[in-house]
Amino acid sequence: MRPMRVPFGPPEWRIGGVRFRAVAQPAVIGSRIGRRTIGPASSGTSRSSLTEDRSKMASIRCFLRSGKSAVSVVLRREFSKTSPAAVQVNVRDALNQAMDEELERDEKVFLLGEEVAQYDGAYKVSRGLWKKYGDKRIIDTPITEMGFAGIAVGAAFAGLRPICEFMTWNFSMQAIDQVINSAAKTYYMSAGAQPVPIVFRGPNGSSAGVAAQHSQCFAAWYGHCPGLKVVSPWNSEDARGLLKAAIRDNNPVVFLENELMYGVPFDLSEEVMHKDFVLPIGKAKVERQGTHITLVSHSRCVGFCLDAAAVLAKEGVECEHMDVVTLAVVNLRTIRPLDVETIEASVMKTGHLVTVEGGWPQYGVGAEICARIMEGPAFNYLDAPAVRVTGVDIPMPYAKILEDHSVPQIKDIIFTVKKVLNM
């Protein structure tokens, strides 16, 4: 029996009797708490029915053409065999459990932020923690980001290990001086005398219907600065392992979550559920092997890349005149330090690179990856220019149709892949 790992593994998973189905997941717009309802799944049949699959493919194509699926499409796994070792945990609970375990493990760890205590967290990420640990360890702050971020950094100076939550990373702009000038630079300015063991965390990037001031992605902004570690998990395993690693790290870590991922469940193995499970910061993960083209992404867009890969793989099987295109999908996990070696290794295999991110294109994460690939050994292996798929270069609009067209969709990824591969 195969051990359970991240759901979107290499195609061999299918041999184990697993089938993939695309499920449309409409979001409930306007709910700040982040409640999402999962749409009804289309009825499944066994994989042996090609007609059934073909019609599903057609419906997927319909979706993709109309752009309705842009909000969220989740591949749900079904197993013909069950494994007792795996447990389904959504990203929110993974973060919650990670914090709970680290709070328990080290008395110096504490959480502060708006609504983290008695409200159970604006997005319920800190649910139950105040009840368990009390006022001393879980602190509700007034709406004064610059002040409480500074207080958090000062507490780190004096030997505590704060987790400073920003309700969203948009509000971190109020406090960005404390993150950069007080946290990131201090170890260097003091020539190693003053470490700053702090984690800043919160949801980053676009949500659904929250408009321009609440939808910015800060990966490039914080990723720009030496002295910070910047982490951007995608699934529950990432969230859990990276948050534990961040809390245990003696350096300032910017932890970029994603609100739309909070409610998404993933299978976590026993190994991942162990209380000392940590993921290394600065190491990317190849989520899917492929030979034709490398997709590099972070956070929610990793899911879209995997969806695109599945779609293209199916297309290849369906249409005999088309080549079976296999996509390698690299999940960055960490923005800074960037694991350029993993990307290079993949690009040297595939010869093609597409970066996918939710943030704006200019001076973004994708731009950095492309520049580094150009400057490194992988350039000689490129058969086409490396390109980026990004959010549209505009402030986020409100109307659903506009919002849907402001972020990269699966069809954009597929379109780009085909362009780069000259298909």
């Binding site: 507490a155 404390q178 003053q194």
Partner: protein, 431 residues
């Protein structure tokens, strides 16, 4: 500006002790020979001493023939009353100074003074570069505050930090070498004037006002760890209008953090006088619901007593307290500011002659026979030597090695590669 200058005779009458009248009497009965000795001694002395000092020095010279056992071990001085905000009682109106304390404060203030003047010199010789914000004139604040807390308490200030780096345990050598950017500097040359750190001293912060929430965070840690320590968080009259300071007032009060907010009001925020920057210049009241004190920041004993009072307030769990120290800086805002475009030379001169913190302490000690003029002179010479040695070190110590360029990015990490100025320049960062 409080005018502190009294004619030496009034001084003698006010701060009297027994020995006072004896000395006066002896002076009256001196022989011509003794007078000549005294006059020649005085003329040999430093030209920077003002008239009153000459007289008191002469008087002390007569008394100097006595041994150290004859010095007053301890004296009590009247200190200026403190203005109170939301406080029923304030610090005491008298302060007791022992001889040891007096000599210690004198030496430390003199060290700060000479160190800053040396830094001025080195800056003009272009051996120090960049920002250099000098503290001369404000010595009583740093020394007085330290007199009211212990080294296990915490302190954080803004960029005018050389004096505090010293009182918090740094050496003149390390400080000067940091100013000249050498490897022997307190931050190995990586920080510079504004980024000096010692144990329980968190700099040295360049962003105006940012240090105040940081100080509250340190105070939070003190409360969290239950160690009965407190944090002194300093800022200037210019910073006092920063929003994040008010955010900090709020949270410190809500959570009853053991923090002493101290506003060093030296009347000017860079080139802007307090009247031009602040709708309310009563900085000790700006904490609103936080009790406040307005203290004469040129009198080291005033500052010390107020700090002791504030520390008691914090340690008793009552939460934050705010002190405004009225002080003055002789130099401009920084070395690139001559400091005379927004204030007159006469004003600076007046403060120097009437309210200088070192002179004030010296006068007190001499007129109460707590030290001899020679003793203080010896201290001056020793300080001067210390500064010279430090300056020598600071100018001859080599600059940091290039290997150090990328180190200290992350703590407790494996060495990693850092991109240099070109894609082929691969540098290494070590913790």
């Amino acid at each position: 500006m409080p005018s502190r200058f009294n004619l030496i005779e009034e001084d003698r009458q006010q701060k009297g002790g027994e020995k006072r009248s004896e000395t006066a009497g002896r002076w009256q009965h001196d022989s011509m020979q003794k007078m000549l000795t005294i006059i020649s001694n005085v003329l040999r002395g430093s030209a920077s001493r003002h008239g009153a000092q000459v007289v008191s020095e002469a008087a002390s010279m007569v008394a100097s023939s006595r041994s150290y056992a004859d010095f007053t071990p301890e004296a009590t001085f009247d200190i200026k009353k403190v203005d109170l905000h939301r406080l029923e009682e304030g610090p005491p109106l008298t302060a007791t100074l022992t001889r040891e304390e007096g000599l210690k404060y004198y030496r430390t203030m003199q060290t700060i003074r000479r160190m800053e003047l040396k830094a001025d010199q080195l800056y003009k010789q272009k051996i120090i570069r960049g920002f250099c914000h000098l503290y001369d004139g404000q010595e009583a604040c740093a020394v007085g505050i330290e007199g009211g807390i212990t080294l296990s308490d915490h302190l954080i200030t803004a960029y005018r930090a050389h004096g505090y780096t010293l009182t918090r345990g740094g050496t003149v050598r390390e400080i000067m070498a940091e100013l000249t950017g050498r490897r022997g500097g307190i931050a190995k040359g990586k920080g510079g004037s504004m980024h000096m750190y010692t144990k329980n001293f968190y700099g040295g912060n360049g962003i105006v006002g940012a240090q105040v929430p940081l100080g509250a965070g340190v105070a939070l840690a003190c409360k969290y760890l239950g160690n009965d320590q407190l944090c002194v968080s300093l800022y200037g009259d210019g910073a006092a209008n920063q929003g994040q300071i008010f955010e900090t007032y709020n949270m410190s009060s809500l959570w009853k953090l053991p923090i002493i907010f101290i506003c060093e009001n030296n009347q000017y925020g860079m080139g802007t006088s307090v009247e031009r920057s602040s709708a309310s210049t009563e900085y000790y009241k700006r904490g609103d619901y936080i009790p406040g004190l307005r203290v004469d920041g040129m009198d080291v004993l005033c500052v010390r007593e107020a700090t002791k009072f504030a520390a008691d307030h914090c340690r008793s769990g009552k939460g934050p307290i705010l002190m405004e120290l009225q002080t003055y800086r002789y130099h401009g805002h920084s070395m690139s500011d001559p400091g005379v475009s927004y204030r007159t030379r006469e004003e600076i001169q007046e403060v120097r002659s009437k309210s200088d913190p070192i002179s004030m302490l010296k006068d007190r000690m001499l007129s109460n026979n707590m030290a001899s003029i020679e003793e203080l002179k010896e201290i001056d010479i020793a300080v001067r030597k210390e500064i010279e040695d430090a300056a020598q070190f600071a100018t001859t110590d080599p600059e940091p090695p290039l290997d150090d360029l990328c180190s200290h990015i992350f703590a407790n990490d494996q060495p990693f590669e850092v991109r240099g100025a070109t894609p082929w320049t691969k540098l290494t960062s070590t913790s």
